[in-house]
């Protein structure tokens, strides 16, 4: 079930009403929430619910076993088995075909023909997200930073709570589990803020992302027919499509969480206002970046004090995060690109600061805009790899950009209105950049002005929403 569907528009008010009717007993409320979460997931595929259950059971049992075990080696063995099982499921469904095909192609390249036995499995929706949910729990328990839970309902709910089930944010057990244990009371301010966040998420998804999608599909699908400058414009449209699609989903997930009394982790913090590449990754898909930092990068770095080794670890971490996104070489290269530029960005921080101090540029708005534009350009360029169907396609696209047609005036049919909408959207985000989301307008003094703004936004969603609604991009991961 998608947040942007009639089914969900009927599902959510019903869940909200029953959920708060049951608020006298937190256990009953949690059982209800677990049931509706499974119903929500099962709406897509009942069969694949068994994988959610399998991952939940494995990690729940691992937690219990670690609770009873004090020996370090035994605890480590439990963690390893748990990781192998959880990541094994992810590996089979998401990466098996990719690795087998790559293996066969590599052998064919050296003249050794092999036959590939691929599985052609359908990727269970949200598998990358709930696998990381569960692993965060087991790793924290292993590190003794979290008490393992005996409460099976709470744990299973943590793994697959419906607002986060399809595309995150990747929650941490340390943040969410305590909220699940605790009795929740209806918080008017939180619910109002949640509703606003849902509205803002809908605007991002239905107006910006879905209007960018046909333009992006057209440009990426007909590279030869477009000038280099239009191909550049295509990456800009894709940057906004991707951001508004995913952050729109995250806003809706966080908003729904607030309606149910939960405070989920923030996933985006205006990434296109980042002034450097490292800043960008502190603001973009925060829950995933933080997960990779805590569970891949820091353990890899260990106690080493060598800068070159830190840089290598950073590149490896982002390479893996690229692979997390999708089983394709384009994603691996995209991850590598991110890793390289984040390392460059981090290593240039000191010299950049010296430069800013020398020329009194620090905190100058114009200088910040230059940095933002530069960072955005780097991000957009990398997104060619993210969007391309394969490496050849990406190469054709990049070659197209750097052709003589780069200097030809770019022209894309029906793109002016979308550009205008993006402009309005960015202005709203700019003025609210210090808030959690673009529609946190509680500082507006007169309620009537807020209501006018809500109505205007709803009318804009209706009037400008794209004809064909697109599936959320991150559902495929």
């Amino acid at each position: 079930m998608s947040f942007v569907s009639l089914d969900f528009a009927l599902f959510m008010p019903l869940v909200f009403a029953i959920y708060w009717l049951l608020n006298k007993n937190v256990r009953v409320q949690n059982i209800f929430l677990l049931a509706v979460s499974y119903f929500f997931y099962g709406w897509w595929s009942w069969k694949y619910l068994s994988i959610v259950l399998f991952c939940s059971i494995v990690n729940y049992v691992a937690g219990l076993l670690m609770m009873k075990e004090d020996r370090h080696l035994a605890r480590k063995a439990i963690l390893i088995v748990c990781c192998v099982l959880s990541l094994g499921v992810l590996g089979i469904f998401k990466y098996y075909d990719f690795f087998v095909t790559s293996f066969v192609e590599a052998f064919s390249f050296f003249g050794v023909p092999l036959r590939a036995a691929t599985l052609n499995l359908i990727l269970p929706i949200g598998i990358s997200f709930y696998t990381f949910h569960t692993l965060s729990y087991t790793i924290e328990v292993y590190r003794r930073k979290l008490e393992p839970t005996r409460d099976v309902v709470s744990f299973f709910l943590f793994v697959n709570i419906f607002p986060l089930a399809m595309a995150g944010p990747i929650e941490r057990a340390t943040n969410l589990l305590p909220q699940i244990y605790k009795r929740r009371t209806f918080d008017y301010a939180l619910a109002v803020d949640g509703s606003r966040q849902i509205l803002w998420g809908l605007f991002k998804k239905m107006v910006i992302a879905d209007n960018c999608a046909p333009i992006v599909n057209d440009i990426f699908g007909n590279i030869a027919g477009y000038s280099g400058s239009t191909l550049v414009l295509g990456t800009v449209f894709f940057a906004f499509q991707l951001y508004c699609d995913f952050s729109g989903y995250s806003d809706m997930a966080l908003g729904i969480g607030k309606l149910l009394g939960f405070k989920f982790l923030q996933n985006f913090n205006y990434p296109y206002f980042a002034t450097s590449f490292s800043d960008y990754w502190k603001r973009n898909h925060i829950s995933m970046t933080q997960w990779f930092m805590d569970y891949v990068y820091y353990p890899l770095v260990g106690k080493s004090d060598k800068l070159s080794y830190w840089n290598l670890c950073m590149i490896i971490t982002f390479l893996l995060s690229g692979l997390w996104h999708g089983a394709a070489w384009t994603f691996v290269l995209w991850g590598l690109y991110q890793g390289i530029f984040i390392v460059i960005s981090m290593n240039c921080t000191k010299s950049r600061k010296r430069f800013e101090k020398k020329y009194h540029l620090k905190d100058r708005l114009a200088w910040n805009f230059v940095k933002m534009a530069f960072t955005f350009a780097l991000v957009c360029f990398g997104l060619v790899l993210f969007r391309a169907e394969n490496i050849t396609h990406a190469w054709e696209y990049i070659s197209g950009i750097f052709s003589s047609s780069f200097f030809i005036y770019s022209h894309v049919t029906n793109s002016r209105l979308t550009l205008l909408l993006i402009g309005v959207f960015m202005l709203v985000e700019w003025f609210n950049r210090h808030k959690q989301h673009g529609l946190q307008i509680d500082n507006v003094k007169y309620p009537i002005l807020r209501w006018i703004f809500y109505c205007a936004l709803i009318i804009a969603i209706i009037e400008f929403s794209a004809e064909n609604s697109q599936e959320f991009i991150y559902f495929q991961f």
Binding site: L6, Y188, N222, G225, T413, C455, E463
Partner: protein
Amino acid sequence: MKKFIVKISLLLFLLLLLCFSGLFLPPTPHASQSLLFGELQKDSLLRYVESPRIIFVGGSNLSFGLNSQIIRDSLHLNPINTAIHAALGVKYMMDNTIQYIQKGDIVVLASEYTAFYREYDEASDELLRIVVDVNRSNIKLLSTKQLLNCLPHIPKFSLSKFNPIKYVVLTDLSFGVYGVHSFNQYGDAYKHWGLNRNKIIPMASLNNAKLNTEVIQGIKKFQSEVSAKGATLLVSFPVMQDISFKKSSEAIKKIEAQYIKNGFTILGTPERYMVPDSLLFDNTGHSTKEGADYRTQLLIEDLKSVLTHIAHYPE
């Protein structure tokens, strides 16, 4: 909690009121110039044109892709081009046409390929506008599923009735390419004839989409209704840009195979109606004058080979 529910309900009530009140307002001056209002002219052609008749049913590939005068001169039949817009859906097109079919009519259906890969009971802004603004009596033609599918289109449709721009007509659509007067006496779109061509952007491939056999069943039902009225149904293929055609060739083959399997009388092959960009006006299925003439000639050849077997065809 109570305060929250009251406020949310109030907001939703206001929006619902706004949405549904638009359904009862007359069309805006801007909307009444659109080509959808051409349906009134086409329905009157179906009602009053005398036999022997040849009736063309389809989307804009037909409205933009036919020169009925040539058909009239070559086949000595009175042509009626009922095509307006593919978004109306093949079901609505057939349901509207069947009301006017007379004994001896020859009906040629050339539905867009995309129609076979979409829901049979699909709805669109255009369908909603035609049954609310243009011809309210046609609401009865819609199935329950179509009516339900229309629901998500109501907010956008209704809000347009409150849009001041739609009352202060900024562009005179009425005599433009997509206006109510863009059709000639046979129902062919002709206002674009002689105008400069636009760049043709290829269509996305249909090869990965799943063929909806419900559409074929719907056409079979239409065929039996046509036969019951003593008329004949022939199926043809839409004009399509060659690049787009090749991109979707597998999907198109499946449609042809379904036509053959279900025993329809087919005019030509899909490949015959594949055309280069030079014969297209502004999209993969809209022909220029030269394109329309070319397609009409092909259709006449295909019709001639079939019509001789039809008993009531006037020689």
